[in-house]
């Protein structure tokens, strides 16, 4: 894939987020922090909370209200206790359209891969 149209920049108000399904059936979250945009996966990297419900934007910081993980949207620096970086699609604005470079869906790894077969598990 390549540069993909996301929405009109006017569709997402400053200091707000909006979930959008783009070409290829990929869900993304558009974040307008006033002086710019971020396009990110729509779930919190902490525990998959849907950011369109839990995410708030203020003073250039995106905060997930569930357990207060937060990222500076300009520098992407993690704030406070936040443990994981925010993944972002590269973005540009063209004639009032927001575009993102999408090469497959960005996903976080949540599942612990620690399966033992039953006998190993119950006899250990």
């Amino acid at each position: 894939m390549s540069w993909t149209r996301i929405c009109k920049t006017a569709d997402v108000a400053p200091n707000s987020v909006k979930k959008i399904w783009i070409a290829g059936g990929i869900p993304v979250l558009v974040v307008n922090y006033g002086s710019g945009f971020r396009v990110v996966p729509p779930v919190c990297p902490h525990m998959e909370e849907p950011l369109e419900e839990s995410g708030i934007v203020a003073s250039c910081v995106l905060t997930c209200t569930k357990h207060l993980w937060a990222w500076n949207l300009m520098t992407l620096e993690k704030q406070g206790e936040t443990e994981k970086p925010l993944k972002c699609y590269e973005v540009k604005e063209e004639n009032g359209e927001l575009m993102a470079f999408v090469d497959g869906e960005l996903l976080y790894d949540f599942d612990k891969d620690d399966d033992m077969d039953d006998d190993a598990f119950f006899k250990s």
Binding site: V43, M47, E48, E49, D111, K112, D114, D115, F121, F122
Partner: protein
């Protein structure tokens, strides 16, 4: 036989030791508690069917021997079982009977099991993935890795039933414990996925073993008026109760002439795969499960003892997952006409065992319950029940006809008699 005075009424019957039961084993609180410890905490229990949690993150809750259980399907499609008990301060984690974790709880996240009390969270493999203010409260003394859920052995087997045991090291594997009894139905149940189309439960004031007894004999067809007047024929009586290892009994098949049942039609067109048309098999499993395939519909009932004089029975009806809506409706009709809450048999069966429960309430004088019919192991023989109580006595180490005597004492006593003879 004239009526009897107290001494006559309480005297031993003129039958062999395994041909009668002391009613105390149906009414005694202490024996009930021992049954939970010695049987239900050790045995495999078919807690539900995999079609009842068909999608990743679906779950169901239940209990075994008073221990709350949760069964859920992971994103990898594997069904796992855990104690439904929070490792923090023992809250019942999930209170709904069934549902999905796809959507997060108010204090939890999507795809996680959340304890609402202090918001600890767990994934579908039982890992603890969130402890609120973990570092602040435990510093480095306790971490998530140390407070996972208690996982239980769980297997999906014999037609897609979900079997769980509280015992990490069961004496026999599920296959060895149940495989032989299931042989008669295994091809039919495992040919393709099944699906539950009927569920109801009954809470009856009776002992769970009395329910199992009813499932283990057909002599009580004298109560089932409609069975009696339409179903009795030579083939019906020729069926046998076949005993299998570990206390299970299988009732052999015969061809049912549904045309003789008023208002009924043949079930041949919808018979389960590999099952000859209109055949009927029944598996009674120790300590209280019944799998009953009448051609086109499978019934399964499972007991959860709630006290010496109280049992919950869960009834499920199953068809083939691929049924068309019309086929499914026909199967449901077939199922409900016999086994639904208003079917031909079920309410009568419940009246029977409720009546027994009434005469054997805790505190009533112990009575002799006769299990002595011998009819060449055909369906009016009570050999299925004798086989069951043999197994029960062994697990409990209690003599069913004399609860003050241990099973091992009996074995040595009869060995001594044999040696003397």
């Amino acid at each position: 036989m004239p009526a009897r005075n107290h001494a006559q009424w309480t005297a031993k019957p003129p039958l062999a030791n395994d041909e009668w039961i002391d009613s105390r084993i149906y009414s005694d609180q202490e024996i009930f508690e021992q049954e939970n410890e010695r049987i239900f905490k050790k045995v495999w229990v078919p807690v539900c069917h995999e079609s009842e949690l068909s999608k990743p993150y679906d779950f169901r809750t239940m209990s075994i021997a008073n221990e709350p259980i949760i069964v859920c399907r992971g994103p990898d499609n594997q069904v796992r079982a855990f104690l439904n008990v929070c490792p923090h301060r023992g809250m019942l984690i999930e209170r709904r009977p069934s549902g999905s974790f796809l959507e997060g709880q108010p204090s939890g996240n999507p795809k996680r099991i959340t304890c609402m009390f202090h918001a600890w969270q767990f994934d579908m493999k039982g890992n603890c993935v969130y402890v609120a203010r973990e570092k602040e409260g435990y510093q480095d003394r306790l971490c998530k890795e140390e407070v996972g859920l208690r996982r239980l052995r769980c297997e999906v087997k014999f037609g897609g039933f979900v079997w769980v045991t509280l015992d990490d090291n069961p004496a026999v594997s599920l296959e060895d414990w149940a495989g032989k009894a299931f042989t008669c139905l295994q091809k039919s149940l495992d040919a393709e996925p099944l699906e539950v189309f009927h569920y109801h439960k009954a809470i009856i004031n009776t002992n769970y073993k009395l329910w199992h007894d009813t499932n283990s004999e057909f002599y009580h067809d004298f109560m089932h008026y409609h069975n009696r007047v339409t179903g009795f024929n030579d083939a019906y009586f020729a069926r046998k109760n076949e005993a299998f290892e570990h206390g299970h009994v299988v009732v052999g098949t015969f061809e049912v002439n549904y045309q003789n049942y008023e208002g009924f039609e043949s079930r041949a067109a919808l018979s389960f795969p590999h099952l000859p048309p209109n055949q009927w098999y029944m598996i009674d499993m120790f300590p209280g499960y019944n799998f009953n395939l009448r051609g086109s519909a499978l019934r399964c009932d499972i007991v959860t003892p709630l006290g010496p004089d109280k049992v919950m029975i869960e009834f499920r009806g199953l068809g083939l997952k691929r049924d068309t809506p019309e086929e499914r409706q026909t199967r449901i009709n077939h199922h409900n006409s016999i086994w639904g809450p208003f079917g031909r048999n079920l309410h009568e069966d419940l009246i029977g065992v409720a009546g027994q429960g009434t005469t054997m309430r805790p505190g009533t004088e112990s009575r002799r319950i006769l299990h002595g019919r011998q009819e060449n192991q055909t369906i009016h023989d009570e050999n299925g029940m004798r086989h069951y109580y043999d197994e029960w006595g062994r697990w409990m180490n209690i003599m069913p006809n004399n609860p003050d005597q241990t099973w091992s004492e009996r074995s040595t006593a009869s060995a001594a008699v044999a040696a003397a003879e």
